[in-house]
Symmetry: C2
Subunit: 77 residues, 2 copies
Amino acid sequence: MKKVTYYHAGCPVCVEAESKVVDALDKSRFDVQVVHLGTDNTRIEEAEAQGIKSVPALVIDGIALHINYGASIEALK
Amino acid sequence: MKKVTYYHAGCPVCVEAESKVVDALDKSRFDVQVVHLGTDNTRIEEAEAQGIKSVPALVIDGIALHINYGASIEALK
């Protein structure tokens, strides 16, 4: 199976929004792993080596994709 | 089925990278549509109404997620 790794740092608004991406992935074809760099900072080096500049980000089959949600004002009330 | 819409504007480097995301989605659970706003600009208003500020972006189940790849130097050679 191809690998997808989702790196995040636990921002609560973002966790909710971006978990949509993880949920939508095809688990029958992709081995999906979620890494919380805030609590598991031993993996920061690995993330950087894959081209990650900010979190949340997905690495799909070796390609780093940075995701920006931008918390909605509503969610912050 | 829930809906996923992928909006882009045809940047060739990005098309290759971000098509990874579309490929990785679970088509058995999500109705996935790809919209090229460069050639179909009648849908820009619809994209904006869903919270999209830049492309490429995914709207998953009503949540807008902006994706930044950042073309690699290698790809531009």
